[in-house]
Structure formats: structure tokens, C-alpha cells
């Protein structure tokens, strides 16, 4: 058997961030090859490198024995590589018919361009297979989300690809749609090789012949489903985090010691148990979403002074949307109610008012001000912390922050976009601390970081919580989340599925639940279509422009 796709030593850097390093991969012709890995592992980057949307910073890509490393995306498409995007990339103002017509009329799809009848026949077949026959005349932008996805897949198939790249094909789909998707992929002719990336592991288990696991931009392993699922390295990457030693499960400081105590997310009980720890952030019935598509369907939570509450959940469960909404970057729906230090926040607060009132966000992907230096970041944030030191909230200065995060002190004059991932994360935390927050919102702080850096990060956050700060942390890295938090919420489909003290997570009953909600293990009873993640707010956009990108689908291109 010869490999259709052959990658050697492929890597990609983005400024100071090494998204992929030295990846070697062989995809055999006719196989269904899946790439999995935690957030920030470099899966989408890998797909972009193969599709030609990004040039690699190292290595070679061979397709069917030919070196295609230097070829553009259209040139690769003409050689038989087609793809889909995380957000369906379609032509929103054109009709479904025109979308497919554009796909069929691309050069070298094997379709005779002047043969209108033949094209129409093919179009009919494609429409039928995609279940879009009733939508031919509809503008693609007006289709419901699931149909947009089907249209995109139909367009990719219309190219008669030899290699089909699917980036999160199940994102945002409901269980029935996922079943349909699986059937469709299984029904593909053997001539079509499929390389897919998805967070829905149930889908992967039911489709893939071979699975490659990426972790921190490196290839962890490649093998059959069974081999990968039982691989301890994979287990640890997904479930127990990264550090080799046993995690410090559950911060003992404020957790009641008697077993069986109900520390679920119930404010009255919690308050009764811990009268000395006032609730600083109280959230009731929080609902939010993008462009009319709800992501959060009613979330209640309390965060007390000096405690860390961890929010877990698979990609698309609504974690980022939760934090972005609390920071004022996404407007919540009408019924929602948020109290900060006993004060009810206005329904549509301006983000800078929230920041000054004591809510600080460390967003997913850091979102530093790229061209500004470290010193300028600190100065900018420090200039704004006009709020006086309040109980539980320290009066941070640049000196104190540098004491906490000494790595930054040697990088003061460096541009933020030239820092390493760990330094960037430290800077993002420093920027947030200098606004003297009462509540720190941390969104996936460990994403893309090396294990040693994560260990350091864990210590830093623990120090902050010990100092009296309230922390709400969304994490995929269980190790980090459990090491710093007293309580854990598991979000699923925009709702809280589980709320329990952190130490209970490792009890057998919860363990099974955890496996189901977060892990790599196959579901024992449910159908492969069981889907616990995948709202459109997958990587929740934090500003309207990005939300627009997310809605219209695909990369901005520039």
C-alpha cells in the first residue's frame, strides 16, 4: 500500500508560538484517518498546512508522490484535495444551486464544463444525497446551520476529491444530523480518502480506521482506534492532564471536610457552610448566544471570595461564551441576572465599567495587544486600576505583579507577539491583575502550553486564590482545573450537567460521568450520535467582527 499523503518534519510557527513541530504523518489511500487532540494541539493548523491555506515553516508535504509543499490552495484543490472549515464556508448570498454549480464548474473536477445536462444531473445527485433537494432556490446564508454544513460537504464532494479534509464536521450539529453525517462519510467511495479532525470522539470511534493524536503541536501517536484508546499517553493527554505526578486534587483550604456534604451549586447552603466567605459573583439564569443561536441556556453559579470554581466541558459546551458574557463582550439575554459584590449589574454593561468594577478577563488565546511591549501592557493596565484596594482584592502594582511572575521582568521591552506561549499567558494574567479585580475569569489558560509551564501556571493561580481572589476558570486540562478549584461545574450543551466538589470527581460514580462528558472512553450505552458538545459558539468570538466571521464561516483571509 502506498501513502496518498506523506508529511515529513512539518512544522508551523506563529510569531513566538510553535503551533506544530516536526510532524510526520502517512495517510494511506482509501482510509478514514482521524486527527484528535485537546484544544490547541494544532489540529486545525495541520489541516490548513495540508490544504495549502498556510505555508509550513518547515518540512515537506507529498501528495500521491509529488511534492506539493509550495503549491497554493487552488492548485492543491485541482490535484484533488478538498476541504471543509470549522465554520461552514459557503457562499451566503448565492442560492444553494449556485453554490453547488460553482463547485462543479471548478477547473479539473472531471466535469465537462460545457455539458450543462450532465452537470445538472450531477447536481441533482448531490442535492439528493445532501438532503437539500427542497432548498435549491434558497440563499445559502438563509439555511439553518445544519443544512449549511451539509451544503459545504456537498460542495467539497462535488470536487470529486481524492483526499477530503474535514475540519470539525460535527460542530454545531444535533444528534440526528450527526448520524446523517456519519452515514454520509461511511457511504463515500473507497477512492475518497478522508482526513478528519473532530472533537466528537464518538463520531471518530464510529468512522476512523486510523487515529493520530496531537498534543501541544507534536504527534503523540498514530494507530488503530483500540490502540489509541488504550494508550496511556493518550489517556493522560485527555483526562489526567500532563504532569506526571499525582495532581493535588481539590484545594482543601475551604472545602468542608465531612464527606457527602452537599456542596452543589446551591447558594443558601453554601453560604450557611461558609459564612466567612462572601459571594462576590452571583449568576442567575444566564442566557446568551450569537446571531440568534443560543449557546448558554440558563446557567446559575456563585463564586465566593478566595475560591476557584472550575468550569469543565468539551469544546462548544459554552465555556468561553460564559466567560465572555460575564466580561461584557457578549450581551446576555433579557432574563439573565449577574451580581458583582452584591450589586446587580446592568443588563447591557459596557466592558470597561465591568473591568473597573472588579471583573478581569484572561481570554482564550491570550488576546494581547500584539505590537505593544510587555512594559506597555503593564503600564496600560496599571493606569486604569483606579479602584481602591478592597477586602479580598489586593492593590496590585507593577512591582508586585513582577514579583509573582518573575519571567516577565526580563522581557519588559519585548513585543507581546514575540513572546513564547507561556510568557504570553503570564502577561495576560498580569494585565488582568493590574486592574485590581475581585473576580478573575480565566479562559483555557493552559491551552498550547508545555507541561512545565502549566505546572508553574497552576502554582501562580493557587497563590492568587490563597490571596483571596475569586477565580472562575474554564479549562480542558483537568489536572490544572482540579489542582486549583474547590468546586467543579461541567457544562454540556449550554447547561450545567454536573456540579460537585472537586474531590468527588475522582470517586467511581463521578468518574464514569466524567468519562462520558469529557473523556476519550466510548459511551457504554448511548448511540454514536450522542453528542455533548458542539454549539456554534465553539470558539466563542469575543467581538462582533469575529462573531461575523464565525457566522459567515471560515477564515477572514487577510
Amino acid at each position: 500500500m502506498t501513502a496518498l499523503l506523506h508529511l515529513t518534519g512539518v512544522g508551523r510557527r506563529f510569531g513566538g508560538l510553535e503551533a506544530l513541530r516536526d510532524v510526520a504523518l502517512e495517510v494511506e489511500a482509501g482510509t478514514r484517518h482521524a486527527v484528535i487532540g485537546p484544544n490547541g494541539a494544532g489540529k486545525t493548523t495541520l489541516l490548513n498546512l495540508i490544504a495549502g491555506a498556510l505555508p509550513p515553516t518547515g518540512g515537506t508535504v507529498l501528495f500521491d508522490g509529488h511534492d506539493i509543499t509550495g503549491l497554493s490552495m487552488p492548485a492543491r484543490a485541482r490535484r484533488g484535495i478538498s476541504r471543509t472549515w470549522q465554520h461552514p464556508a459557503i457562499f451566503p448570498r448565492l442560492t444553494v444551486y449556485a453554490n453547488l454549480d460553482l463547485a462543479l464548474r471548478a477547473p479539473e473536477t472531471g466535469v465537462n464544463r460545457s455539458d450543462r445536462r450532465g452537470r445538472r444531473g450531477q447536481l441533482g445527485t448531490l442535492l439528493e444525497h445532501a438532503g437539500l433537494a427542497g432548498d435549491v432556490g434558497t440563499r445559502a446564508g438563509a439555511l439553518p446551520y445544519g443544512r449549511k454544513r451539509r451544503l459545504e460537504l456537498a460542495m467539497a464532494l462535488a470536487q470529486r476529491p481524492r483526499l477530503l479534509l474535514l475540519d470539525e464536521p460535527s460542530a454545531g450539529l444535533d444528534p440526528i444530523e450527526i448520524t446523517h453525517l456519519i452515514e454520509q462519510i461511511l457511504a463515500l467511495p473507497a477512492a475518497v480518502t478522508v482526513l478528519l479532525v473532530d472533537h466528537n470522539l464518538d463520531l471518530i470511534w464510529s468512522l476512523a480506521h486510523t487515529v493520530t493524536v496531537l498534543h501541544h503541536g507534536r504527534l503523540l501517536t498514530t494507530g488503530s482506534i483500540d490502540a489509541v484508546r488504550t494508550d496511556p499517553k493518550v489517556q493522560s493527554a485527555y483526562l489526567t492532564g500532563t504532569s506526571p505526578q499525582n495532581p493535588r486534587v481539590g484545594r482543601r483550604r475551604s472545602v468542608p471536610s465531612h464527606p457527602g456534604a452537599d456542596i452543589s451549586n446551591h447558594p443558601r447552603q453554601a453560604a450557611a457552610e461558609q459564612p466567612e466567605q462572601p459571594v462576590v459573583l452571583r449568576v442567575r439564569d444566564l442566557r446568551a448566544g450569537y446571531h440568534g443561536a443560543p449557546v448558554l441556556l440558563g446557567v446559575d453559579l456563585d463564586v465566593r471570595q478566595g475560591e476557584a470554581l472550575a468550569v469543565l466541558g468539551r469544546n462548544g459546551a459554552g465555556k468561553t461564551t460564559l466567560l465572555a458574557t460575564l466580561a461584557g463582550l457578549v450581551p446576555p439575554y433579557a432574563a439573565s441576572r449577574v451580581e458583582l459584590i452584591g450589586r446587580v449589574l446592568p443588563r447591557r454593561p459596557r466592558p470597561h465599567h465591568l473591568a473597573r468594577a472588579g471583573l478581569a478577563l484572561v481570554p482564550q488565546g491570550r488576546r494581547l495587544f500584539g505590537p505593544l511591549t510587555v512594559a506597555e501592557h503593564l503600564r496600560c493596565a496599571a493606569a486604569l486600576c483606579t479602584a481602591p484596594a478592597t477586602p479580598g482584592g489586593r492593590s496590585w502594582t507593577v512591582e508586585k505583579v513582577l514579583e509573582l511572575l518573575p519571567a516577565l521582568a526580563t522581557r519588559m521591552q519585548h513585543r507581546a507577539d514575540r513572546l513564547s506561549g507561556g510568557e504570553q499567558q503570564m502577561l495576560a494574567i498580569a494585565r488582568a491583575l493590574l486592574t485590581n479585580p475581585r473576580v478573575l475569569l480565566l479562559d483555557e489558560p493552559s491551552e498550547g502550553l508545555a507541561p512545565s509551564v502549566i505546572a508553574q501556571l497552576t502554582d501562580t493561580i493557587s497563590t492568587l486564590v490563597d490571596g483571596g481572589l475569586a477565580v472562575l476558570i474554564a479549562e480542558q486540562n483537568l489536572d490544572l482545573a482540579t489542582a486549583i478549584s474547590e468546586r467543579v461545574l461541567i457544562l454540556s450543551q449550554g447547561r450545567i450537567a454536573v456540579a460537585c466538589p472537586t474531590h468527588e470527581l475522582y470517586e467511581p460514580a463521578q468518574r464514569a460521568c466524567l468519562q462520558r462528558l469529557l473523556g476519550v472512553a466510548a459511551p457504554t450505552t448511548a448511540s454514536p450520535a450522542l453528542r455533548l458538545s458542539g454549539e456554534p459558539g465553539d470558539v466563542a468570538p469575543l467581538n462582533p467582527e469575529m462573531a461575523q466571521d464565525a457566522a459567515t464561516g471560515g477564515d477572514p483571509g487577510e
Binding site: A89, F91, R93, T125, G137, G554, G557
Partner: protein
């Protein structure tokens, strides 16, 4: 085969080209009525209005060019007047060299307009969005400056006076406004028909795709830059032909005819048309009517009136929203 037969039914119901603005019987009727009215116009209105109508047809031609780039390919151009200028100078120089035949001038102007577009395409098509707007504007202003600098050829800022066009070799030159109008109208209709044909081709579909989602188009294997270049060339040809019509109408040409305000009016007409070619033509007629009929009643403040039209078009959406909330508030 069985799949084909089951899908044949919905296919026949739906517009086979899948375009939103495919002519329906009623809109064909409206277009026919408009064309007939336009043909009958010289018999109805005075010479002054007819000369304004001729000017409107020239701007309508330029508006079609702007719409090809802006509405179809999604690139906001503020420089289409440059290609009109190239075509116009071609026609004027031909006329002064003794080639007074109108259709010849038209063809030559379209060719040089397309050639100018081909020369500038590698520069402007490197950009998108606002930068495209800036660069097309810069290209047009450079063209205008060059036209006023090259006084030996273009007559500089004094401009060029040209003899009237002839429709057929040996026939009398067109001097009467009504005849000039009819000549320009026929030329415009031919150009409009060609543009309508172009909009039914694969190229137009690819251009609309590029406006909607360029990475997707590339991922399908389409040669995006080649398609955009072809579209830009076609727009240059249409604008160049518009230049020949301009010379036929005015019998005079100066660098001011390819200035920012001309490009801006074409862009305005395209924006009024909101992506549709017919809309752009109607927008051009509206703009010229506002400037030359309404503007003269304002005591020489036609420019300010046009400015108001720009603002009206720019604020149509917030204004609609405001009106809607007012109406709903009133009902409550």
C-alpha cells in the same frame, strides 16, 4: 439515472442558473416598457432634457462598470472614471484624427479601457476592501493628473474639442441632441445586453463567489485572481465604451471628466442599485436627474444636493430602523 429523474421535478421549477435576479416575466415587461419610453423620449421632452438624458446614459454605462466591480465582485471601486477617461481620450483622439465613425470609436475605447484595466489590475487586485477603494482612487487621480500633464496629446486642462460622430461611413454627422441621444441609447442598450450576457456566464458566478467567500472559492480550485482580473477587464471595457459615449454627447473632453466626483457618482449609483445591474442604471439616472434637474433649482448648489443624496444612501439602514421603531412606538 433514477436519481436524475427524481430530481428533475424541482430543477424545472427553479431558476436553472440559480441566480437571484434572473428575469421574471413581470420584470421583463417593466424593462421593455422603460426601453420603449426611453426610445420615445426625444418626441416628448425638450432639447435640454434630452441632453441631460444623454448624460444620464453615459453615467449609467459607468455605473454598470462600477457595479461589475463593486456589486458583483465585491470590491468597492472609487476609480472607474479613470477607464472612462482612457476610453474618452481614445475616442476624442480618433475623432480629431478624422475617424469620426461612432461605432469604431466605441470599439476602440472599449479596447483601450480594457487595456488600462489590464495594466492596473496587478496593482489594485493585490488589495481588498478599504485598501482597494484607496488604491483605485489613487490610480484614477494619477490618471487624471497625467491627462492634464500631457498637454501635447490631451490638450491639458483646456481639454479637447471633437467633431460630431457619424453613425455610418458617408452619413451626416450627428449634431441634433435628439439624434445623439438615440445613438447613445442604442449603444447603451447593446452594452447593457452584453453585460446581461456576461452576468449569465460562469465568470460572473465565480466573481459573485469571490465577493461572498474567497477562501472557499480557492479551496474549490478556482483561479480567483484570474477571474477577478477578467472581471476587472470587462468593467474597464464597459467604462471605456462609456468614455466614447461621453465624447459623442459632449463633443468636448477635459481631465475633469475623469475626476473623483465622476467615480464617486458611479459608486453611488452602484450602491443605490444594491448589487443589481438594473438598479445601478436606475441609480445613475436618478443621480443625474437630481444633479441636473433638481440641482439647477437650488441656485447652483447641485454639489450640496448630491452630497445629501450620498448621505441619504449611506444612512438608509439606520434611518429605516429608526422609522420602524417610531412606527411601532406610535402603535403602542
Amino acid at each position: 439515472m433514477s436519481v436524475e429523474s427524481t430530481t428533475a421535478e424541482p430543477m424545472t421549477v427553479v431558476d436553472p442558473a440559480g441566480r437571484q435576479r434572473h428575469p421574471r416575466p413581470r420584470s421583463v415587461g417593466v424593462t421593455a416598457a422603460v426601453v420603449l419610453t426611453a426610445l420615445a423620449l426625444p418626441a416628448v421632452v425638450d432639447a435640454y432634457t434630452i441632453s441631460i438624458a444623454s448624460t444620464a446614459l453615459v453615467l449609467a454605462t459607468l455605473a454598470m462598470s462600477a457595479q461589475l466591480v463593486t456589486g458583483v465582485a465585491g470590491l468597492p471601486s472609487l476609480g472607474q472614471a479613470a477607464y472612462l477617461g482612457v476610453g474618452a481620450y481614445t475616442a476624442a483622439l480618433l475623432a480629431n484624427a478624422g475617424y469620426t465613425n461612432g461605432p469604431t470609436q466605441l470599439a476602440a475605447a472599449a479596447l483601450t479601457g480594457a487595456a488600462a484595466a489590464a495594466v492596473t489590475a496587478p496593482l489594485v487586485l493585490r488589495t481588498r476592501g478599504t485598501t482597494f477603494l484607496m488604491v483605485t482612487f489613487a490610480v484614477a487621480e494619477v490618471g487624471r493628473t497625467a491627462a492634464s500633464q500631457w498637454a501635447a496629446i490631451t490638450g491639458g486642462d483646456d481639454g479637447l474639442h471633437t467633431p460630431p460622430v457619424t453613425v455610418w461611413p458617408g452619413t451626416a454627422p450627428l449634431r441634433v441632441d435628439g439624434y445623439i441621444y438615440l445613438y447613445v441609447l442604442v449603444c447603451f442598450l447593446v452594452l447593457a445586453a452584453l453585460v446581461a450576457l456576461l452576468l449569465r456566464t460562469r465568470l460572473a458566478l465565480v466573481l459573485r463567489g469571490a465577493a461572498d467567500h474567497e477562501p472557499r472559492l480557492g479551496a474549490l480550485g478556482h483561479r480567483v485572481t484570474a477571474a477577478l482580473t477578467a472581471g476587472f477587464l470587462a468593467a474597464g471595457a464597459v467604462a471605456g465604451a462609456g468614455g466614447a459615449l461621453l465624447v459623442a454627447v459632449n463633443r468636448y473632453l477635459s481631465p475633469a471628466d475623469m475626476g473623483l466626483d465622476v467615480s464617486a457618482l458611479a459608486l453611488l449609483a452602484a450602491a443605490i442599485g444594491a448589487g443589481s445591474m438594473r438598479g445601478a442604471v436606475a441609480g445613475a439616472v436618478l443621480v443625474v436627474a437630481v444633479r441636473d434637474l433638481l440641482g439647477t433649482d437650488t441656485g447652483g448648489h447641485a454639489t450640496a444636493v448630491l452630497g445629501a443624496v450620498f448621505l441619504l444612501v449611506a444612512y438608509r439602514r439606520p434611518a429605516q430602523e429608526w422609522l420602524r421603531t417610531r412606527v411601532q412606538g406610535g402603535r403602542r
